[in-house]
């Protein structure tokens, strides 16, 4: 597994995310239909398809942060809804946290995920347990910090974050929503997974997979 991650990893991450979101598009729409307005998968698919187009059209990006900043701007201007600004902010904060590093290590990965989480919280004002994507990003950030502190390689930190995000997304099922569209449903929001938490877990899994793939 990779001790550090480079710009190629960031590009693989985004291509893998776009692929997975396209595959999971309908499933995410279904989740959003249950407690929202049936567009989450469509919104993200539109956004990451645009990301692919932007990456293809752009000059070869110099750093991981260059990639993530482009992603942030593209999501912000193509996703819309709640997820657009939230993911846009997440990727922007993630990019900013990386500065102009060409290679990022385990600690930087953990910082990056925490920065993304903090951006989402700053933007959306949701707390853990409100049944939002925060419930995927918060355990992911915590797991990444722990893994980095315990000396894991960058790829392993991502894997730990992805695992935690998936568990976090699953754990949204019994929650009563207090933010976003699902909160309108009151008690009826219970028993469904939050679509944004699920897509967040997919994005972090794509990051881990991109890291795992790219190393001998």
């Amino acid at each position: 597994m990779a001790g550090t991650l480079d710009t190629a990893w960031a590009l693989r991450w985004m291509r893998e995310t776009a692929r997975v979101i396209a595959v999971e598009r309908a499933a995410l729409i279904d989740l959003d239909r249950a407690i929202g307005d049936a567009d989450h998968g469509e919104n993200l698919d539109r956004g990451f398809t645009a990301v692919l187009g932007k990456l293809d059209a752009a000059d070869a990006p110099a750093t991981p942060a260059t990639v993530l900043k482009l992603v942030a701007m593209t999501l912000m201007s193509t996703v819309g809804g709640a997820a657009g600004p939230l993911y846009g902010t997440a990727f922007l904060r993630a990019a900013t946290s990386l500065g102009d590093a060409g290679e990022i290590d385990a600690a930087q990965v953990a910082t990056m995920i925490a920065a993304a989480r903090d951006g989402i919280v700053a933007r959306g004002k949701a707390e853990p347990g409100d049944k939002t994507m925060v419930d995927a990003w918060t355990p992911a950030a915590d797991a990444a910090t722990t893994a980095a502190r315990e000396g894991s390689a960058a790829a392993a930190v991502l894997a730990a974050a992805a695992d935690a995000a998936r568990s976090g997304a699953e754990a949204t099922e019994p929650l009563l929503a207090r933010k976003g569209r699902a909160s309108y449903l009151g008690e009826r929001s219970i028993g469904h997974r939050d679509p944004g938490a699920v897509s967040s877990a997919l994005i972090l899994q794509a990051a881990a997979d991109a890291a795992g793939d790219g190393t001998p």
Partner: protein
């Protein structure tokens, strides 16, 4: 899913294009990013009014662009708020030097995207203020929700604030009038059958033949609770009671009432609902000074209706009556 569409992903673009052709005397359509402005925008010295949000609520918002109402509308994808990159140029396009008011329905997505756009337009030198419409009494307005949704009241805010802007009020004045309408307007809706989002391809929820959803919004989301089908008079009472309670309407109050179809409801049924609203308000000693009955803010082809009541004062009524000339509301001109 059967719809008069070509490509589910082209629905909004093609529809707004057709709208632009049909109403070329009123509006100009900018294709990319997509927004609709008054043909004579920017009106020098007048406060510009911009609203927008997910599509699928037609005639909201593009149908309300024109004299005495909105200067620009920004249609997002179906049920998905538009992005700042469309809201920003719409905002600058209608700034006639007096600043721009954003009329934002209270949904997380709309709030976040308009917030970002307002910041960036201000950075471009446009003075922007925002008013948040949150009239849906089906949703508890508490710390533990995203707050009440903006629904039917939006139409009344756009009309009355638009009239104030046309009258020449300054940005603070227009924002204050808009806020007064927000404070005095409440709505509640019912669905008899769900709608189908084109890109989703299946109905947003399933209702049995004898079930209805009370407290629905305008995005095909399920409502607050599901009950057995009832007659129109009973349903109307279920919609009106929480409104009159929340507004604490009492004898002598004057109102503007809208009975709105969600897109798939015959006008005849809306008038049956209106009849009952009028009876119930009369019973309370509340007068209906003005009314709208029809499809004004829809959820695609959803079957159902909503009731909106605004406690109106003299100024609001005067503004209401001033000329308006848009695709969907027109009088005095």
């Amino acid at each position: 899913m059967k719809k008069l569409i070509n490509d589910p992903r082209a629905v909004v673009d093609e529809s707004v294009e057709g709208f632009g052709v049909a109403h070329a005397d009123l509006v100009t359509v900018h294709a990319d990013p997509l927004f609709v402005v008054r043909r004579d925008a920017p009106v020098q010295g007048k406060v510009g009014l911009v609203s927008g949000g997910g599509s699928g609520h037609e005639p909201l918002h593009a149908g309300y662009v024109g004299r005495g109402m909105l200067d620009a509308a920004v249609p997002g994808p179906v049920f998905t708020s538009p992005t700042p990159d469309a809201i920003i140029p719409a905002t600058t396009a209608v700034d006639g030097g007096a600043g721009v008011l954003h009329i934002v329905k209270n949904y997380t997505g709309d709030v976040l995207n308009f917030e970002t756009a307002a910041e960036m337009a201000e950075a471009d030198g446009v003075r922007v203020r925002s008013v948040l419409v949150n009239d849906d009494v089906a949703v508890e307005d508490s710390l533990y929700t995203a707050g009440r949704r903006g629904v039917g009241g939006t139409v009344l805010v756009e009309r009355i604030a638009g009239a104030a802007a046309e009258r020449g009020d300054d940005l603070d004045g227009v924002a204050a009038v808009a806020q007064r309408v927000v404070d005095g307007v409440r709505s509640m809706g019912v669905a008899l059958a769900a709608c189908t989002v084109p890109h989703a391809g299946v109905p947003s929820f399933e209702l049995a033949d004898d079930e209805i959803e009370i407290g629905i919004g305008i995005h095909g989301e399920p409502g607050r609770h599901r009950i057995a089908m009832e007659d129109a008079d009973s349903i109307t009472q279920r919609l009106l009671d929480p409104i009159t309670a929340d507004l604490q309407l009492t004898s002598g109050d004057r109102t503007i009432v809208m009975v709105n179809g969600m897109g798939g409801t015959p006008a005849s049924e809306l008038y049956i609902v209106f009849r009952r609203v009028a009876q119930l308000l009369e019973g309370l000693g509340v007068t209906i000074e003005r009314s709208l009955v029809g499809n004004y803010i829809t959820a695609l082809e959803m079957q159902g209706a909503s009731v909106t009541v605004l406690r109106a004062d003299d100024e609001m009524l005067e503004l209401w009556d001033s000329p308006v000339h848009t695709a969907a509301l027109r009088w005095g001109v």
